[in-house]
């Protein structure tokens, strides 16, 4: 008979024996050694019937096809732009994937995107040698305007977005900011006031730190409301001063 050694939803460490017995099957983040299923990546343990897998709790972004990411233009060549993807591999945005406009050969490409610009783009191809291509030709993809750029832990991205985007929508509404979250952990925040952007960043940082503790949505909404109230009191004081 097999035996489960580690507990579900707990953190397992490389080299840790999770289960004993041939009936268990190793999936993501685990491997079999004789009778044992062992973790080969730091992660949270999930058991689906007899299938054992872990979800990472750390690590850099790894480019995947169809991911929407925020990338930074780092170089310009004859046929397009090289962008940094916040991973081990940079990506190529070729002229044909950038715009429907006709761009003459040899034209000054900085007219479109310059070094240092941030783009929200989609990965269309990752080769075995990790050559990565991105495109801007899909709804919502574009050059990002004036706004703060921060980096978050990639495995926290789903929590920052929330179910059907609920978390990020709440932050956007409460702080009156625009937010774009890239799968690669880059986040763009743009508001009309610095305080709004700072509050949105504060909320995102809180999710990053505490996403594994239950009651997260309440705490975030509390943080956002409390700060809004503070702002109101401040404005009141100011108006009194004027009187």
């Amino acid at each position: 008979m097999g035996e489960l050694i580690a507990k579900e939803k707990e953190v397992v460490v490389p080299g840790e024996v999770i289960a004993k017995g041939m009936e268990y099957l190793p999936s993501h983040g685990t491997y079999r050694k004789d009778e044992n299923i062992i973790a080969n990546r730091l992660g949270i343990l999930f058991i689906d019937g007899k299938v054992i897998k872990t979800i990472p709790v750390s690590g850099r972004y790894h480019p995947r096809r169809k991911d929407t990411i925020i990338a930074k233009v780092i170089d310009i060549s004859m046929n397009g732009w090289r962008v940094d993807t916040n991973s081990a591999y940079s990506a190529m945005l070729s002229v044909k994937d950038a715009t429907n406009e006709f761009i003459r050969k040899g034209e000054d490409l900085t007219r479109y995107f310059d070094i240092g610009d941030y783009l929200t783009c989609q990965i269309i191809q990752v080769t075995s040698q990790k050559l990565v291509d991105v495109t801007l030709k899909a709804p919502g993809l574009r050059k990002l305007g004036k706004g703060r750029i921060i980096e978050v832990k990639t495995h926290k991205v789903p929590r920052i977005i929330g179910k059907q985007g609920s978390m990020v929508s709440m932050i956007k509404n409460e702080t009156k900011t625009q937010i774009v979250v890239g799968q690669n952990g880059m986040v763009w925040i743009s508001g009309s006031q610095p305080q709004d952007e700072i509050l949105a960043i504060k909320a995102i940082r809180l999710i990053e730190e505490q996403s594994h503790i239950s009651g997260l949505t309440d705490r975030i909404s509390e943080l956002l409301k409390k700060d809004n109230k503070k702002k109101e009191t401040k404005t009141e004081v100011k108006t009194e001063d004027k009187k």
């Binding site: 240092g116 006031q193 305080q195 700072i198």
Partner: protein, 259 residues
């Protein structure tokens, strides 16, 4: 990047920083001493998420011919790639050289260490004070952190036992390093007409000019270093020095100095 400098200017014009601080607000400062048993004195300084370690070794040496009855000070800094993805292995780069020289100058020019007390045999044998600065995590403003750490480490430096021939580093005596003053550097950054202090790493590139002002407890200025490509007017220098002197006590109180 030009994008971000515009935002930074916008923030500063509204009196606020990227992390919500005021322009003249220093992040939380924490100083721990005696962090290395093998050093004769050591300190670990945290300013926000910036962390720097400083160790002092005392070694025997020969005095310089022009100062036969004085010991000597040597300050080195090595920016290990441990502390930042932007640091590379290899010999000290220009930034770490500038950092160690600015800190060195403050201590040397204020005569903070009584070098005559480091003399063992005139013209033959003196104590050398060897300071090494190592960033552990670079989140901006390494220089101020290193300067504070250097004084904290020197303040807690004790001579090892010495029988006239060899040094027994295993045994520390109760004799303190003769540190008579505590010069502390503080850097003021200027962009446009705005001044700010203690930049975090995401603000660190956005300045026209910076001025490191090393001062003593009584407000005496004992070293200056202007950095950045833009010039400064007399009024601007006045303003920057005034701000540096106003903020210096915040660092000083962390190493037990008067407020």
């Amino acid at each position: 990047m030009s994008n971000n400098i515009a935002i930074f200017n916008d923030y500063l014009s509204k009196g606020i920083r990227f992390d919500g601080r005021r322009l003249d607000e220093i992040r939380e400062v924490e100083v721990t001493t005696d962090v290395s048993k093998t050093a004769e004195g050591s300190a670990h300084v945290k300013i926000g998420d910036t962390e720097v370690m400083v160790g002092v070794k005392l070694g025997l040496g020969t005095p310089y011919p022009d100062t036969p009855n004085e010991g000597a000070l040597m300050i080195g800094a090595e920016f290990s790639p441990l502390a930042s993805p932007d640091f590379e292995s290899g010999p000290p780069g220009i930034e770490s050289i500038e950092l160690s020289r600015v800190i060195d100058r403050g201590i040397r020019e204020s005569k903070a260490i009584d070098n005559k007390k480091l003399c063992i045999t005139k013209g033959e044998k003196v104590w050398m004070v060897l300071v090494d600065i190592v960033p552990l995590n670079d989140d901006g403003n390494l220089l101020d952190a290193a300067g504070l750490g250097t004084i904290a480490a020197l303040k807690t430096t004790y001579f090892p036992e010495f029988d006239g021939v060899t040094v027994d580093y295993k045994k520390k005596t109760k004799n303190k390093l003769p540190l008579t003053k505590e010069p502390i550097p503080l850097t003021i950054y200027k962009i446009g007409d705005k001044l700010f202090v203690d930049p975090a790493i995401d603000e660190a590139d956005y300045y026209d000019a910076r001025l490191t002002v090393t001062s003593l407890e009584d407000g005496t200025i004992c070293a200056l270093q202007k950095g950045g490509i833009k010039p400064l007017t007399t009024e601007q220098i006045d303003e920057m020095v005034a701000l540096a002197l106003k903020k210096a006590p915040e660092f000083r109180k962390k190493i037990g100095g008067k407020k």
